[in-house]
């Protein structure tokens, strides 16, 4: 059986370990082969980080959230099917990000003045106006309902198709369409009134 997305370093590891040549990453993960777990973490950390960052924006908790995704994935590896490791992990990533959003909303009444998030200003080479716009955009997104935000960020920032968003967010296609439309209209209306975002909206 053809093995899905394994890159060079995982391939090298696999060659070093005495494994069945026909063994897939999925099969190897299910029997807890060390090379497969390492390949999973090595090859999928970047896509998981990307999905979480799209939903949450720059976050100083990113390492912890990524770790949580792999913990959940490895704890439920028996549920993994052959449809693709990427989508399977992506669903965990979106769920972890959504929980982080809900947690943040639950506790925001307690933290009246959030300290400046050092992670916010990462993006070393990015132009200051882009960094400022990004901060403003995520400040607006903070006021959006978490499920709407998940749908909007996956579709508009990550650029996924609506069907892919539905699969990752565990929603029906019609729900995704409805949420996206609502989020887009709300964001457009508020961005047009935002001092840092209005130029971006107008420039488009």
């Amino acid at each position: 059986m053809a093995r899905p997305v394994l890159k060079l370093r995982a391939e090298t590891l696999r060659l070093l370990a005495p494994v069945d040549e026909a063994e897939s990453l999925v099969d190897a993960l299910k029997v807890r082969k060390p090379w497969a777990e390492r390949a999973l973490v090595e090859d999928y950390t970047a896509p998981v980080e990307r999905l979480i960052t799209r939903v949450l924006g720059p976050s100083s908790d990113l390492d912890d959230l990524v770790q949580e995704v792999f913990i959940r994935a490895l704890a439920r590896v028996d549920q993994l099917r052959d449809e693709g490791v990427g989508r399977w992990l992506g669903a965990f990533a979106v769920n972890v990000a959504r929980e982080a959003l809900r947690k943040k909303r639950r506790w925001r009444w307690l933290v009246s003045v959030a300290p400046e998030d050092a992670a916010e200003s990462r993006g070393h080479g990015a132009a200051p106006d882009v960094m400022a716009a990004m901060r403003s955009l995520y400040r607006l997104l903070d006021r959006m309902e978490p499920d709407d935000r998940v749908v909007f960020t996956l579709r508009a920032i990550e650029g996924l198709e609506l069907l892919e968003v539905a699969a990752l967010a565990d929603m029906s296609l019609s729900t995704v369409k409805r949420r996206f439309k609502r989020a887009e209209s709300w964001l457009f209306a508020h961005a047009a009134r935002d001092v840092l975002l209005s130029d971006w909206v107008r420039a488009s």
Binding site: E37, F70, E116, R122, G123, H124, A126, D129, A133
Partner: protein, 403 residues
């Protein structure tokens, strides 16, 4: 997807991708080990859960009792006369002194013709912004007390003490006079915080016209004060041919800057390699280097140092101060009001309550006015008047909102 938002979301995606690409991660073995350790911990916790449930019930009862005894102290309150003082409320003394009393017994008294705002109050202290004039503070000493007086680009940190602070926003000058206890004064234009205690007094300045004294007669301007010339300081010219002893070594750019000799300091920085310094120096030194170049009249070098600070120490307070200074350079030097407006917006976004926030908002207003952006200028003017009704740009703001 609407075209109106696609430009924004594409740019955000590119910035995030770049940040993620540059991100440092621990080795994969370490990450995997952490995952396994947590999996093991959760497995043990799951097996113990029935016992834990019983224990948890007892623990909850104990926690409730503990919380009740250790519940956080209530935030301080402030009153002026018999009226409570709200956050952001403008406190103006007019012709007579104006006293604000806090619930811990501390008092802040504004001298006549002074203005201040209360920015923050919590159980440990307060933050007061002195906009102009003189403030007399008597802060009661308590465990973990944390008080702050912000005056323009300066901050006076206090734990328990009596002191007086006077701030002149036009000259960017702060005077602190101690009566009891100690304070620490920091600021964007100070290289390090300065402690004052006992009955000490000190004056701090940021304005170039005051901070830059005339060059001493014994140290004439070097012929090579321009960046391209070999920058040999006057002290270096006078140095003996033999290897200089530490005492005879020509002063470095930072020493010269601290003495207010900015042209000599810039020449010394050029001699060391200005661009190399931008890659090597720390955040505070880079801000200082940019200020040196700006005050020595070399905006290109100033911009180079500030840009290096923004890129290398993104997220720091110094990087935000650099954004403000870049706006200032664009505004005052090149007259590029659009660029200036964007830099000030970046600063305000990063440091909405920062030391330069009033100036940044005022200059944003002026830039929008000069660019003929009437609608934005009117909005900014209203915002400015709400925050700084006595500020330097208040007259312009009033004329724009039609007051």
């Amino acid at each position: 997807m609407s075209q109106a938002l696609s430009h924004l979301t594409r740019s955000v995606r590119a910035a995030q991708d770049q940040a993620l690409h540059e991100r440092a991660r621990p080795p994969v073995e370490e990450r995997l080990a952490r995952v396994h350790a947590e999996l093991g911990r959760r497995d043990v916790a799951r097996r113990r859960s029935p016992l834990v449930a019983v224990g948890a019930g007892l623990a909850v009862a104990a926690c409730v009792a503990l919380w009740w005894s250790l519940r956080p102290p209530t935030p301080l309150t402030a009153v002026a006369g018999s009226q409570p003082v709200a956050l952001e409320q403008w406190l103006s003394s007019g012709g007579a002194a104006h006293e604000v009393r806090f619930s811990d017994g501390s008092t802040v008294t504004l001298a006549p013709q002074s203005a201040a705002r209360l920015l923050h109050l919590d159980a440990e202290g307060a933050t007061v912004a002195l906009e102009r004039g003189t403030l007399h503070a008597a802060v009661v000493h308590r465990e973990r007390a944390r008080w702050l007086v912000a005056a323009g680009p300066f901050e006076v940190r206090v734990t328990g003490t009596t002191f007086e602070a006077s701030y002149d926003p036009i000259r960017e000058q702060l005077e602190v006079r101690m009566f009891e206890g100690s304070v620490s004064v920091s600021g964007a234009c100070l290289t390090s915080p300065r402690a004052l205690a006992g009955s000490q007094a000190a004056t701090f300045r940021c304005g170039p016209e005051l901070a830059m004294p005339a060059p001493a007669a014994a140290l004439p301007e070097p012929p090579g004060a321009t960046p391209s010339a070999p920058a040999v300081s006057a002290a270096a010219v006078r140095a003996p041919a033999a290897a200089p002893t530490p005492a005879e070594r020509p002063p470095g750019w930072m020493e010269l800057a601290r003495d207010g000799r900015f042209k000599l300091a810039l020449a010394a920085a050029e001699a060391e390699g200005f661009s190399a310094l931008c890659l090597r120096e720390g955040g505070d030194a880079l801000l200082e280097l940019g200020n040196v170049a700006r005050l020595a009249g070399n905006p290109a070098r100033a911009a180079e140092a500030y840009q290096a600070l923004r890129q290398r120490f993104a997220g720091s307070a110094g990087a935000s101060a650099a954004a403000f200074q870049l706006g200032r350079l664009a505004f005052d030097g090149a007259g590029n009001y659009d660029a200036a407006r964007r830099w000030f917006a970046a600063y305000l976004s990063e440091q909405p309550g920062g030391a330069f926030a009033q100036e940044a908002l005022g200059r944003t207003l002026e830039a929008e006015h000069r660019l003929g952006l009437r609608e934005q200028a009117t909005q900014t003017a209203a915002q400015y008047l709400a925050r700084h009704p006595g500020g330097a740009h208040a007259a312009l703001a009033r004329s724009l909102v039609g007051e």
